[in-house]
């Protein structure tokens, strides 16, 4: 079965510092990887997906199949980035998502 691991429950940084939220996965096939974000009092929403190779709100994530990782990075954190971040995986050909336990990012002024 597939699994997503986010080793940090909480990541606390100062504004302007670089951020890296770690995500590792286990799956024998070719996965599709996503980052979802939940801001305070808002619903869960898609931040980015690996295949798009896009940068959203300054965040990027690269799929490293050798290390089975999909870490989320931002060079300069902003206070508005404070939120809960979930890494998620779907098996090829399937829609359902397997989520990690999430990492709370707290950006202090």
């Amino acid at each position: 079965a597939q699994r997503v691991t986010q080793p940090e429950k909480l990541l606390s940084v100062f504004k302007g510092a670089p951020v890296e939220l770690k995500c590792n996965y286990s799956y024998s096939g070719s996965p599709e990887l996503f980052w979802y974000v939940q801001y305070s009092r808002q619903r869960l929403q898609l931040l980015l997906r690996h295949i798009s190779r896009e940068s959203i709100k300054g965040f990027t994530a690269d799929l490293n199949k050798g290390e089975t990782s999909f870490h989320l990075k931002k060079p300069f954190a902003q206070e508005e980035d404070s939120a809960m971040y979930y890494c998620a995986l779907s098996r090829s050909g399937y829609s359902t998502l397997t989520f990690g336990k999430g990492t709370m990012l707290l950006v202090s002024p």
């Binding site: 997503v4 986010q6 599709e32 996503f34 619903r43 869960l44 929403q45 898609l46 997906r49 295949i51 979930y86 998620a88 779907s90 090829s92 050909g93 399937y94 829609s95 359902t96 998502l97 397997t98 989520f99 990690g100 336990k101 999430g102």
Partner: protein, 118 residues
């Protein structure tokens, strides 16, 4: 238009009671998903519909859990004889495409129903 809506937003049930949670997906969305999120955990898959067909119910934790989407739109998740371990936030998500590929099939989440079983 409006996003995915869920009702009620909060539900307190005594152990042993039956509950019904409703999800209104985005109009026209073919796929509908239910997830369960326990405190401090990520969402966990429960079941998946494509229109009115329940294509995957492998995540339902027991036969006390039942979901339906009879007309391919609104869905109801029913939990019979609730137990304390059922306390969680129940999330509904919908997506537009019929395809099974999550790659092009962004899931839009509702606000969730927080169920507390006392």
């Amino acid at each position: 238009g409006a996003g995915v809506s869920q009702s009620p937003r909060y539900k307190v049930a005594k152990r042993g009671q039956d509950v019904a949670l409703r999800c209104d997906p985005i109009s026209g969305h073919v796929s509908l998903f239910w997830y369960q999120q326990a405190l401090g955990q990520g969402p966990e898959f429960l079941t998946y519909f494509q229109n009115e067909a329940q294509l995957d119910k492998s995540g339902l934790p027991s036969d006390r859990f039942f979901a339906e989407r009879p007309e391919g739109s609104v869905s109801t998740l029913k939990i019979q004889r609730t137990q304390q371990e059922d306390s969680a936030v129940y999330l509904c998500a919908s997506s537009l495409a019929r395809s099974g590929r999550a790659l092009t099939n962004e899931q839009y989440f509702g606000p969730g129903t927080r169920l507390t079983v006392t």
